[in-house]
């Protein structure tokens, strides 16, 4: 009987852990602490990409606590919740963590377009900002409609536009795009579908033939897609994958002898876990940079000194990798929003609503970026009531078999093309959800 009970208990506990239900009580909170929840995925199919991002984000917050005692004396307390990149678990984590700390969650960074879509419905009611650095709904740039979303640094429409600009440059001008074939191999999810609208607009404008080829989650089997590409022979392939899909795409491209230097991945398809599993077959593969790439900068030295020297870091194995650095930037933007908000509301733990004001008034100038140790990683970012993206730039890097090499200058996405799309899609969203857009001119 005891053995049967034990067997049941083992199975039950395993199912619970598999479901990502966290039973820990979390950190105890004092009244002068600011709570920052962290939705992460350190297990599951997307863990190889989720781990370095989570490490970077956590190490930066730890560094602020160790070096500066938090932000203006307010200690930052964070708690991770495992989502496994699943939308339902992400929402569950959000519900569990949104009220924690003396003032509730400062902001959420979901690291999943699917979770972002779900939380976009909830955040306005809870008055908690969503920081989606380089992902999420592209039209959420429009702060008048998406008051609580901050799609910092770049959207997928920005990425699509920059990718086409790079192809045009390689071909020798936008006029050379006419008649060319460009295919998009995409993760069949809200994330993967995001660039299609922008690429269709560009295809019409520049006269290239565009084809979208979906790959079903998680992307372990792509033979038919790449055989179709072998038959169709597009001039370029854009890759919008995540996790195992990226390295599988590169391997399948090699198997059908599609040149790797004609594939350009989005910035979520351009990190070390995407190319290392493909070995030599990944040589020459290119990807967009969300401004930054891999490498170590002044902020890394600060983290070495204040975090790792004290044995507190979590990401030594991933230190300086592309996604680790993106995690740093994510936490940089979030914490600087808190700092900006403190200047208005006082040096105390802030509510999500107050932190949202901080985001909207965040102005990371070149001088400030240098001061924070991010010079060389980031160009200036400035949010406003109307503009919740704050930047439009990106670069391209190429995998040489050992490391990423930057091969382009900064491109700036063409807002003459993208702004009307943002206006159109956000207006549609506002009508659908019965949202009255804010009048930003009255909030200045």
């Amino acid at each position: 009987m005891l053995r049967k009970t034990l067997a049941f208990a083992t199975a039950a506990s395993a199912v619970l852990s598999g479901a990502g239900i966290m039973l820990s009580a979390g950190p105890a909170m004092a009244q002068n602490e600011q709570f920052i929840p962290r939705l992460v995925y350190r297990t599951g199919a997307y863990a190889p990409n989720g781990i370095p991002f989570a490490n970077g984000a956590a190490d930066y917050i730890t560094m602020l606590n160790e070096r500066d005692g938090g932000i203006n004396g307010i200690k930052l307390v964070m708690e991770e919740c495992e989502t496994g990149y699943a939308t339902d678990k992400g929402v569950e984590c959000y519900e569990r963590l949104k009220g924690k700390g003396p003032t509730g969650a400062a902001y959420f960074s979901p690291l999943s377009t699917g979770i972002t879509f779900a939380l976009t419905e909830k955040a306005p009611g809870d008055k908690i900002p969503l920081l989606t650095t380089g992902y999420g709904r592209s039209e959420s740039r429009n702060g008048a409609v998406f008051a609580w979303n901050f799609i910092a640094v770049g959207s997928y429409w920005t990425a699509a536009d920059i990718a086409i600009q790079h192809i045009a440059k390689e071909l020798g001008g936008f006029d050379k795009l006419k008649g060319k074939k460009i295919s998009l191999v995409y993760h069949d999810s809200p994330y993967g579908k995001e660039p299609i609208a922008a690429l269709e607009v560009r295809a019409k404008l520049n006269g290239f033939n565009f084809k979208a080829i979906p790959v079903t989650h998680p992307g372990v089997e792509q033979k038919s897609q790449w055989l179709a590409i072998r038959q169709d022979r597009p001039d370029y392939v854009l890759l919008w994958g995540w996790g195992v899909m990226n390295s599988t795409s590169i391997k399948e491209a090699a198997a059908v002898a599609y040149p790797r230097d004609k594939i350009i991945g989005v910035w979520w398809s351009g990190a070390e876990p995407d190319v290392i599993p493909a070995g030599d077959q990944a040589k020459g593969y290119k990807a967009l940079m969300l401004q930054h790439g891999a490498g170590q900068f002044a902020v890394h030295a600060d983290i070495e000194k204040n975090v790792y020297a004290k044995g507190q870091g979590v990401g030594k194995d991933t230190f300086g990798q592309v996604l680790y650095n993106r995690g740093l930037i994510d936490s940089l933007i979030g914490t600087e929003a808190i700092r900006t908000a403190q200047a208005k509301f006082g040096k105390k733990p802030l509510t999500g609503e107050e932190v949202r004001w901080g985001f909207e008034n965040l102005n990371l100038t070149a001088a400030r970026i240098k001061e924070l140790g991010f010079e060389g990683m980031l160009a200036p970012i400035k949010f406003s009531c109307e503009d919740h993206q704050g930047a439009d730039q990106g670069r391209v890097h190429q995998w040489d078999g050992k490391e990423w090499k930057i091969i382009s200058d900064f491109y700036t996405a063409d807002r003459k093309i993208l702004d009307p799309m943002v206006a159109e899609y956000s207006a549609k969203y506002a009508a659908e959800k019965k949202i009255t857009p804010r009048d930003c001119s009255k909030e200045k």
Binding site: K4, V15, A47, E221, S224, R230, K251
Partner: protein, 309 residues
């Protein structure tokens, strides 16, 4: 000629991809044949075997052990890990559940799945670990007949050869050995087999061990294809329609089912998917499986079970 060449390329690619699904499906068949249980944990067993293999291989290569010796030792280590896993599953989960309903045993394998996934990643890590046991480039055959030749991936061919060898070994094991025959007796009725002196606990250990070794074999091929990583567990979902079509109790059925699923889904994706927006291959395999279920519920090669009431 171009159209025929393209069709043949998709067909060959699909058939070979299907054999790779069969490698995973074989593990399900073994356990179902021996215990009547659908082993939900087979995908997790492939992951665990792959992690044990690649992590020990990396460990030994980093310490200067010659690659060939490291591969042999890593395979042995992974086999030992699968043997220990089989023993623990038998002792802690299946043993206490002897003579319980098949549904209870099935639920237990769901528990085993999560334990193996979690423990595997906790012990060996949750990164992507590259594995290069087989060549992954392609041949381009019949270049004279078809422009650009017909593409045949070398890894897929290796997978086919390994699956063929595995089927031969398993057929001999089930038909010609005493343990194999005892396995079949246990599958028919646990209690009756036990009453005639067949040691059921030993038999279940053996079958989980063999399924573990089949998982290790699948991991060598799929690990080379994808890198060893968590996503390998999703292969279980690819194996399910293979089993429905081939039959849960037939080793050759797993191969034939794999061929049908592989060829069917690739042809559907390339020729039908393009017309309706793509992304259909994942569920198209289940359409095929449903069609077979309607006509022949036990699968093409499954045993028809007639029970007297």
């Amino acid at each position: 000629m171009v159209v025929l060449g393209q069709f043949l390329e998709v067909l060959i690619g699909g058939l070979l991809a299907g054999v790779l699904y069969s490698l995973v499906a074989l593990g399900f068949v073994l356990i179902f044949k021996a215990s009547g249980v659908f082993n939900f944990a087979q995908g997790a067993m492939v992951l665990l075997a792959g992690l044990a293999l690649v992590r020990s291989l990396d460990f030994m290569v980093a310490r200067g052990i010659p690659t060939w010796a490291a591969i042999v030792l890593a395979l042995l280590f992974a086999a030992v890990v699968m043997a220990i896993t089989a023993a623990l599953i038998q002792k802690l989960v299946l043993g206490p559940l002897v003579n319980q309903s098949d549904l209870s045993l099935f639920m237990a394998t769901i528990g085993i799945t999560f334990v193996l996934e979690g423990a595997g990643q906790m012990i060996f890590g949750s990164d992507v670990y590259p594995l290069s046991l087989f060549p992954t480039d392609a041949w381009f055959i019949l270049d004279g007949l078809f422009e650009g030749g017909l593409l045949v991936n070398k890894l897929d061919v290796w997978g086919g050869l390994i699956a063929g060898a595995l089927v031969a070994v398993l057929a001999i094991f089930f038909q010609r050995t005493k343990t194999g025959r005892a396995l079949r007796a246990v599958a028919d009725d646990h209690a009756a087999a036990e009453s005639v002196g067949i040691p059921i606990t030993w038999i279940w250990f053996v079958v989980w061990l063999v399924a573990g070794l089949v998982a290790l074999t699948a991991a060598t091929v799929w690990g080379t294809k994808l890198g060893v990583q968590f996503s390998i567990v999703f292969l279980a979902l690819k194996a399910l329609p293979v089993l429905i079509i081939g039959g849960f109790t037939s080793v050759p059925g797993a191969i034939v089912g794999g061929l049908i699923v592989g060829a069917g889904e690739k042809i559907a994706e390339v020729y039908l998917g393009q017309q309706i927006g793509g992304g259909i291959e994942y569920w198209f395999a289940y359409v095929l499986a449903l069609a077979v279920l309607l006509v022949r519920p036990q699968g093409l090669f499954g045993e028809r079970i007639i029970e007297r009431i």
